[in-house]
Symmetry: C2
Subunit: 394 residues, 2 copies
């Protein structure tokens, strides 16, 4: 039986026949208008771009147009439902880009899950786009796909499932530190989940100064001794020394001893009150599994958690990607960046964190609301300035 | 030096940063709105489509969304300017789809001119689209690409450069016959140009009852004796007996003897007054080369032409593709047709022709204006009814 929310959503989608439309920005209502926007006048911008490809940013929609590309292999909590069933998510994402940042975005749902075909197809359709937002592509192939496209395309490529959550998690951690006086470099972090999001969280925390991260995944604590059984993403976390390798036979429970931060991007209800109680004082708990967090906020609070964030909108401190991706692309597009670098992502996290004034910070308010309209500009500015700085260094 | 039209066009494109934008059709301004349009409510339409792929027509924009795809190999009069420089044309075409028929259309400019890669890429991006409008792809590969995609995709595929002009030319011919009492089956047609458009014109005229067509191309009159030198498109016209093969050494001039119709999709100023004078009485001259027609309308008129059509908006009877493609796709999409058949194209031509009442027909008014808002509905209805009939026959 469908619940109320599902019914509402089905009705909304059916009434509107989906969520996006493509509109003309110019008049086409007279012979003159047609001759300027289309034949024969259109030959002039065509020739200008033929002479200088950069002119596409002046005369076409490219400079503000992002492709939201999926193969439907890891859609929200739904798993590998394929490109057709992924469409409502991609349309939703495209609509969010426009509504939150004024960035045009268009869903591309790929009828292949072969990494080489995905890479080739995206490269083939890239000329009309100013950026590529990869979405809901399964790990580990998402990492290879993103890295290859970053190398082979001259426009920004960003897999939101990897980096969106990572950026907002870092923002939450920055403000939690401000609130408590703790320092990133002193934090001991326990990570649960080493898929696309988990790996990117570990990497951005490390790049931001966190020195101690240990991780747990479905089959137990991640250690070097089991490296042969891991996929390329987890292997790289160990080999690149992003995460530490605890002793063999270390349990998930014991990882919490003297830890300061729990970051969960895994499954619901795996963290207990007792685990939280093993942590240092004023621990930060970011339990982002959806719809059921790794530990219920009420239980975490009872156990002594000082800051609690989840993926849900009905609790305080929602770690919501929409805080990051609209402003990140807007900033990267405005700077005409050819890449979204780790430092641009860190700048975005700081941008989100700084929206909340120090005096307003509280355990229930370390992350701004997705509807706080200061966020997108703060992120855009931070990313654009960082991108410009990096261009100057080249 | 840029002329006034080019300046106007460059300014229009620059001020608006291109011509299309992507907008949300649903509100996204509250936590509730987000939960219906995006996470977590969006899971419901996703699951519905996973269970039944046809539900994508209910819950996503697919059913009204056309991809306007080019490789930039044969753009307007500009030639092989590549995918980046083709963008203004594809955006213009997309804008026309929306403005004239309410059909959403999105430009896809491909960074490859290899037919197999073009086919693979289009197949890979097809799930989110209800139809594929191929645009400005060079002949002969455009025919192979279109045919393969028609076979391998379950949505309508239509190369406008082939069929758009053909459909409007047939509409012009139907009304010219009505005006003069001539019959399609009795007409002798001289075709100049056997590229994408010329070949499709020959085929639709033949399918509509015309029995005699001879053709001329750059290197002279098309005859069987020279078949080894022709590309696959011209070869097929001869082998399929779409066009007749005159005696060897027949000249272009002599093709006009006792001809009733001249159809030009070639180059400017190649037809003389004397050639027209060789034709039967009340000849129809469709000289569609752009910007300079195969013969200037004033010269053709002086030579005795009864009906004159061109590709230009500043003469009567403009043979303009915009009369056809918006309504064709709208009709095919509404009928959920899996193909655009020859009979659907002929139905579209009759739909265009029938917009003008018999009593209103005149040599200067055999083709309605592109801004006659009866056209799109007439074409849509004709195509939809034909498509429905064909579905019943299956």
């Amino acid at each position: 039986m469908l619940n109320q929310l599902s019914k509402k959503s089905l009705k909304l989608h059916k009434q509107n026949k989906g969520k996006i439309e493509v509109n003309s920005k110019v008049p086409l209502d007279s012979i003159d208008a047609l001759s300027w926007a289309y034949s024969p006048g259109v030959a002039a911008p065509c020739k200008a771009i033929e002479e200088n490809h950069e002119a596409a940013y002046d005369y076409t929609a490219k400079g503000n147009m992002v492709a939201v590309v999926t193969d439907g292999s890891a859609v929200l909590g739904l798993g590998n439902i394929g490109p057709r069933a992924a469409m409502p998510v991609m349309e939703g994402k495209s609509a969010l880009f426009k509504e939150f940042a004024g960035v045009d975005a268009f869903p591309i749902c790929l009828n292949t899950q072969d990494p080489e075909e995905i890479i080739d197809t995206i490269k083939n359709i890239a000329p009309g786009f100013g950026g590529i937002n990869l979405e809901d592509i399964a790990s580990p192939q998402c990492v290879e796909i993103e890295n290859r496209l970053k190398d082979e395309l001259d426009i920004p490529v960003f897999h939101d499932d990897q980096h969106g959550t990572a950026i907002v998690t870092l923002a939450a951690l920055i403000n939690s530190c401000k609130l408590t006086g703790k320092k990133l470099k002193d934090l001991k972090v326990v990570l649960s989940g080493t898929g696309a999001a988990g790996a990117s969280i570990a990497r951005i925390l490390k790049a931001s100064g966190v020195r101690s991260i240990v991780a747990n995944k479905k089959d137990g604590v991640v250690t070097k001794s089991k490296i042969a059984s891991y996929d390329s993403v987890v292997t790289a976390l160990l080999e690149d020394k992003i995460i530490d390798s605890p002793e063999d036979n270390t349990t998930f429970e014991s990882l919490f001893d003297h830890a300061d931060v729990f970051v969960g991007v895994s499954v619901g209800d795996i963290v207990t009150k007792e685990m939280i109680q093993r942590m240092n004082s004023k621990p930060f708990i970011f339990a982002m599994a959806n719809p059921d967090p790794e530990i219920k906020p009420a239980v975490a609070l009872e156990a002594g958690a000082h800051v609690i964030g989840t993926g849900r909108s009905d609790y305080p401190n929602q770690i919501n990607n929409v805080l990051a991706f609209p402003g990140i692309f807007k900033g990267a597009l405005e700077a005409r960046a050819s890449n979204i670098t780790e430092n641009m992502k860190i700048a975005a996290a700081k941008g989100i964190a700084n929206v909340i004034h120090d005096k307003d910070l509280s355990p229930d308010y370390i992350i701004p609301s997705p509807f706080d309209n200061r966020v997108v500009d703060a992120v855009k500015e931070a990313v654009r300035e960082q991108a410009k700085g990096e261009k100057l260094e080249l």
